[in-house]
């Protein structure tokens, strides 16, 4: 039927259009509540929000927190961490042990299958580790396998790792890291990284979940894999979706409005403080492994002699109020750190508290400087980075400046530099002392020691001491667990007493937020830093 072209007809058409528009707006607003539609059949599912990003689903190219969360759900490892336990235990393996000082042998469970139906055998394990080292992707975690000489298939269920350094006690802790997922050799290419969509399609993984829908860094749906037989157990919730946020305020608002069920990483201290006050969600704290600290460049830091430099470092350590930093800047989402090994990690000690005190001690600081003949106030050019360690870095370092200058012993020239330049300049010895941070690769104390204080360490602060190096090699290769823990505590004490190449400041807690009706999150916020969906339910 043709529409009337008369003015009256046009007016009628306009009227109908106006009514239609009003009806559309009304219907939009009517259905509104800001939550979910309720049409999605989500009764058996949970939605977890995060600001992390997945870099890659292929383990050969994934060495970041966002990818780790996804990998934790879909891949199986020879060894893994049970919720609440930072000791590696068999996952795909039935058992793993040192069969000689340089050979670590694992026996697989019988009858394991990937989600695509292919068998998971010793060949799969060898392929996975050979592939990781062979590809050596610029963004991958192959460097974690630096001590792996070769991987051999002994029989269909047995695989033997030959190590370059004997009795490497950190090797079992490396197997559950991002270097250790077992992939299907029938679907993964041996020499190149697989695109995420292909990983999802090929289902060459055997973890507790499979991915049933994948829109990268937007929305990912996981469905329980019924054939999974490993340490993470049967998923309590069969369907979990991960929603990715760019900004923490949207994550926070969606948590508050109930649009999502849980949130994990990374809310700002202010967001967390706000959520703690909300009666709709619960904020859960787990032990933290992140370390925030200050590095001294041993060559360029203030002080005319090595003794004077040491005295400056000791006076610096004696002048800080870490508790105030944690409380005022980070709203207690961080805790004071008195060693490079954070509390909760096996073997952690608190030598800085024992030697330099829990709070600032101006008299002790002044004595260190006076005894070494250092003139005061000492000029400190302190660098921090405003974009890599969170938005509160500026506030943190202003507080440190205030604390140091409050003693009257230091005059602090505070400077900040954007991350890439910061990295470049600090390696060129441009910064006498500067901010740094560390997320561990695995919950072993050595991961907080050797990378910092061993030869050719990544700090490039010109610290190296033969005695400390010998101690580090000793603890890393000590098979006796108790003796190893003693050695680890001793090296922490020696470092704090005699060297202080770094001064630890704060250790980060893991924070998760969940709706009041969501259970299980507290079980997974542990020292393994693995966020396991299997324990979540409502």
């Amino acid at each position: 039927m043709r529409v009337s072209r008369t003015p009256g007809g046009r007016r009628r058409a306009k009227g109908i259009a106006a009514v239609g528009l009003v009806a559309l707006i009304a219907s939009v607003l009517a259905g509104c509540g800001s939550g979910r539609t309720g049409e999605g059949g989500d009764g058996d599912g949970l939605i977890v929000g995060t600001t992390d990003k997945i870099f890659s689903l292929d383990p050969a190219a994934a060495y970041d927190n966002g990818s780790l969360v996804a990998e934790t759900q879909i891949y199986q490892y020879l060894l893994n961490f049970a919720p609440g336990d930072p000791t590696p235990k068999p996952d795909a393996a039935e058992k793993c042990e040192f069969t000689t000082p340089t050979v670590y042998t694992c026996t697989l469970q019988a009858g394991l299958k990937f989600a695509n139906g292919n068998p998971l055998t010793a060949n799969s394990v060898k392929f996975s580790f050979d592939r990781m080292l062979g590809i050596n992707d610029p963004n991958g975690p192959a460097s974690l396998l630096g001590n792996l000489e070769k991987t051999d298939v002994v029989d269909e269920r047995t695989v033997a790792f030959t190590l370059k350094v004997a009795n490497d006690q950190t090797f079992p802790a490396i197997l559950p890291t991002q270097a250790g997922p077992i992939v299907d050799e029938r679907v993964f290419p041996a020499d190149k990284v697989m695109a995420d969509e292909d990983v999802v399609r090929a289902k060459g993984y055997s973890g507790p979940y499979t991915i049933t829908s994948y829109d990268k860094n937007k929305l990912v749906e996981y469905q329980a894999y019924p054939e999974y037989r490993g340490i993470l157990g049967t998923p309590k919730t069969p369907r979990i979706s991960a929603k990715y946020y760019a900004t923490t305020d949207n994550l926070k608002l969606d948590l508050q409005s109930g649009a999502i069920d849980a949130g994990y990483r990374s809310l700002t201290p202010t967001d967390i403080e706000g959520l703690r006050a909300s009666d709709k969600v619960k904020v859960l704290d787990g032990p933290g492994g992140e370390l925030r600290y200050i590095v001294f460049n041993m060559n360029t830091m203030p002080g005319g002699t090595p003794e004077q430099k040491l005295a400056v470092r000791k006076a610096f350590a004696s002048s800080l109020d870490r508790t105030a930093l944690a409380r005022d800047v980070y709203k207690d989402t961080y805790v004071p750190a008195y060693s490079s090994v954070p509390q909760g990690i096996p073997g952690a000690a608190e030598p800085f508290k024992d030697i330099y005190g829990a709070g600032p001690n101006k008299d002790a600081a002044a004595k260190f400087l006076a005894d070494a003949g250092v003139a005061t106030p000492v000029e400190l050019n302190l660098q921090y980075n405003p974009d890599h360690y969170g938005s509160s870095s500026a506030e943190e370092y202003k507080a440190i400046k205030t604390q140091l200058e409050g003693t009257g012993l230091f005059r602090v020239n505070l400077q900040s530099t954007e991350w890439v330049s910061y990295q470049r300049e600090r390696a060129r010895d441009a910064y006498p002392l500067y901010q740094f941070g560390w997320f561990p690769d695995f919950p072993d104390p050595d991961n907080y020691l050797s990378p910092f204080f061993g030869p050719n360490n990544f700090l490039q602060s010109h610290f190296e001491d033969p005695g400390i190096t010998a101690q580090l090699v000793g603890e890393a290769t000590q098979p006796d667990k108790d003796r190893r823990l003693q050695q680890i505590q001793q090296v922490q004490r020696d470092l704090a007493q005699n060297f202080l190449p770094i001064v630890p400041l704060l250790s980060g807690k893991q924070i998760g937020v969940a709706g009041k009706d969501v259970q299980g999150m507290e079980q997974t916020l542990d020292l393994s830093f693995k966020f396991r969906y299997t324990v979540l339910s409502k």
Binding site: L24, V28, S34, G40
Partner: protein, 336 residues
Amino acid sequence: MARYLGVRLLLIPVTAWILVTAVFFMMRVIGDPIEAALGGRLPPDQIEQRREAAGLNRPILAQYWEYLSGLARGDFGQTQDHRMVADIIATRGAATLELVCWALLVAFAIGVPLGRYAATHRDSASDAALRLFAILAYAAPVFFVGLLLKLLFAVRLGWLPVSGRASADVELRLQHVSPKTNIMVVDAILYGDNAYLLDVLKHAVLPAIALGLLTAGVFLRLVRINLIQTLRSDYVDAARARGLSARVVTGRHAVRNAMIPIVTVMGMYIAMMLGGAVLTEMTFEWKGLGFELAEYLKARDFMAVQGIVAFIALVVAVMSFVVDALVALIDPRVRF
């Protein structure tokens, strides 16, 4: 006409090349992606190995030539996280297009009637208020307006969602049935479920208003100025002399003519909104091209940023050509 259009057609690749080249070299000034990702975790020799593996230690001109050759073949390259840039452009570009369409709708719905009202009530208090509104709408930062909208309509009133293009369950359902266009409202219609359509629509309201207000301010002022000029013209006086009502004269004759410049600038505004959508997309978690661009810029992913910017440059260049062609069609004077 043909010569005029031919010259402008040639300007498309030149404009795109200049922009692509500028971005290529600027990206290399702001920093090394390997350092950005892994500096502070690995010793320098391993960082160097990884730079070598990623091809970043080759001469910059060799990298540039390789990149341009790829673009000429239609290969936008691969991101560091192993995604094809062309795929990102296809899927996320559709999301941005959807947002821009909604925003244009808002801009028209607000800008044109208010501009008409201001013109017909020239120099009144309401005209002054509307002109002030237009300036504020144009000047207010999108993220600030977005934040206010979120706080009011999503947090305080709870009428609309905080962010995203749809609720998670709706997005998943649409993903499971394989989105055909990646324009969510179209996919929801094709899927044939009104509840999903409603969900998608209500997610579009706040981002569309935030981005649309900016352009609405421009449209308001354009309509007002053009309409005032048109209402002074002889043919309008003639229409009035024929006894037509003021409403008919304005609505049927004057507004149509006043809209011509708006239609011609609209092409450029669509291109500008593609860029302006970055902040809106970030504010509302609208996972479009601007959102991806901002994220990859943060990660210093050379290929991704170059590819997306190359695409936007191409769109801007094409839009510029279309506008020139439209103007030439409407106004023959510009061809000579």
